[in-house]
Amino acid sequence: MIALIPLFPLIGFLINGSWYAFVQAAPGRRKAGSGITGAIATMAILGSFVVSCLLFLQLQGLPPESRVLEQTLFPWMTFAGFKLDMAFRLDSLSTLFTLVVSGVGTLIHIYSIGYMSHDATPGKFFAYLNLFCFAMLMLVLGASLPILFLGWEGVGLCSYLLIGYWYSDPEKASAGKKAFVVNRVGDFGFLLGMFLIFTAFGTLDFEALRSAIVHGGHAALPEGVAVTTVTAICLLLFVGCMGKSAQIPLYVWLPDAMAGPTPVSALIHAATMVTSGIYMVARLNFLYSLSPTAMAVVAAVGGVTAFFAATIAITQKDIKKVLAYSTVSQLGYMFLACGVGAFTAGVFHVITHAFFKALLFLGAGSVIHGMHEEQDIMKMGGLRAKMPVTFATFALGWLAICGIPPFSGFFSKDEILWLAFSSEHGSVLLWGLGALTAVMTAFYMTRLFTLTFLGKPRFSEAHGEKHGHGHGHGDDHSHGHAPAGVHESPFSMTGPLQVLALLSLIGGFMGIPHMSWLEHWLAPVIPAHQATGHVAAEMEWVLMGVSVAGAALGIFLAIRLYADLELPRQFATKWAGLYRVLFNKWYVDELYERTLVRPIHALSQGLWKNFDVAVIDRIVLSFGRASQWSGQTVRTIQTGSIQFYALVLLIGIVLSVGYLIYGLA
């Protein structure tokens, strides 16, 4: 039954994919619309969601310690001493992920039907989207690291395909390539970590690993495995997470990944795929908890990424870029949680983030759709009246990400901040980093919200000229004049927005501090966090107050500042240097370009010209030339004259008969 969860999207992919590839790929052939292909894909992922729900209920009926379902499909590899089955395992952690992936996935599929209605090849799009869901579900259901890795690579491939979906634009195609190449760096670390696990523990199965380490609820090093080995394993696997979950230094691909269609950004680059790094760390929490060094690195990288990405998000002007950096920042939060040992809080934030970030991205998509592909927030404003549903739902997502109680983001973010402060791995420094990031998050999200929905429209002139509408070409381009066509999106798009808004509103209640259903539920996989004695319990309320006050401060500042665009402009000129650095994303892309891309490019050029062409090609070509030359030489005896051949034949016969008669004697 577990195998049905990834099977449905695979079937959807095969139907849509083969229909597109074999029937419709011919040029000039009419493509199926987004309605029918989208319906097939949605049915497929909806099937997964239904099965996930059923299995969730089944798990819930079991006693907590035996909440594991397994299914082995077939033996995959068998060597001497190594056996690997194609096996799926559903436990309390993976069931949460299957629910989120298939649930949010279903909503985004429905949304895509509306969003991709003007696209030329929706069949291809939905086939890729289903393939992604298949790979992602395999990732979270895999019973061992290699199965997880299969899914890991599968989602990477789909991410590449979907970022470069509009591949005729070279910029978008190269964004896809960038994502793929950067992820390859991370996968290298992942593979090495996997090999090291096998050398150290002799198994790659999660359950076997766990039983090798955890005895009676306590994680302990098995005989013959050094702490340094475990640290190396954890750090190498974390390199994989850096790539897939966009952490410093491998985060650069995610903002560029916004070149893909917006539903893809919502599903892959916000809600699901990028959280697979957190999933893996949470899955191997017993391993990470053995290595304080690795934990410290994870927490530090997460915290710094959260802060760093938030600083960039403040100055970006592209609505999707802001959300992309926000995603990087929130992912940093999740790793911060994992690094201080609060794996449950990390998973909690994955879930709430999936709700509100998917909502924000889809809302942004709705805005972009309504504004006819305009993505610059400086050219928006005042959309509240034009797009009431998008406005209302986006507002809920905005409050959730800012961490205003009782929205979902508040609970998960506060849990992370509290544990960053109070846990044995945590520190005031990490807490301060997180809290500062929370203020900045509130600030840049409010900026985005204000510039997009509030204030006066700033798009009439630019928009009217861009599209050559006859509107407003009189003497005055008065403010408040809407160009023709800024419209609310169809119900297939606003419907999912409303569902996600509801989830963003109530999603946090699964993890209310001190009576967290989530912590209880995850207890078989992630040991419940021990209450630590060195921090007074009252501190929790104080810190909660501080973070809410911080969020409120961020919101207040941004609303005051961006009510009138003159004020931010003055700030930008006053601190021009800082503004330029932030606007140019700390010049990290340029730094990588200088230090990595260009040297490698130069090296490749040199090898190509001085070794490949000069040495290898010459050797290979000389073989070709030798046979050409010998052919030219020998062909001269081939005159084409039959009678000449007959003469040669005669001579040959005479010689061989002569040999038979006289030579043998």
């Binding site: 081939q638 084409g640 004259s641 009678q643 007959a646």
Partner: protein
């Protein structure tokens, strides 16, 4: 009493005819003549078979002759058809013209 012809006389005669035919194949450029020369060679071989058949008191030689005559008839038919086809395409029956495989 009828004077028996010595076998070496017949065989020499056959060899002479065979090589006359072969020389014709090698030298002549007219394909019809070449075909006739091939017939000459075949019949020289036939005569040899018959000679040995008589000398060795074995009917296999005569059997072969019958086969060769049959196959030669078919071969001439095919050969003449080819000559006609060649004449239609090349407007000539000169063997020097059929060197298309050279390049």
């Amino acid at each position: 009493m009828i004077q028996q012809v010595e076998p070496w006389v017949v065989l020499s005669f056959c060899a002479a005819i065979f090589f006359i035919g072969f020389a014709g194949v090698l030298i002549r450029r007219n394909i019809l003549v070449v075909l006739m020369c091939i017939e000459l060679m075949l019949n020289a071989v036939n005569l040899t078979f018959v000679t040995f058949s008589k000398e060795l008191q074995h009917l296999g030689g005569q059997m072969s002759v019958l086969f060769i005559i049959t196959v030669a008839a078919a071969e001439s038919a095919v050969g003449l058809a080819l000559v006609i086809a060649m004449f239609r395409t090349l407007r000539g029956v000169d063997t020097d013209q059929i060197r298309l495989l050279r390049e």
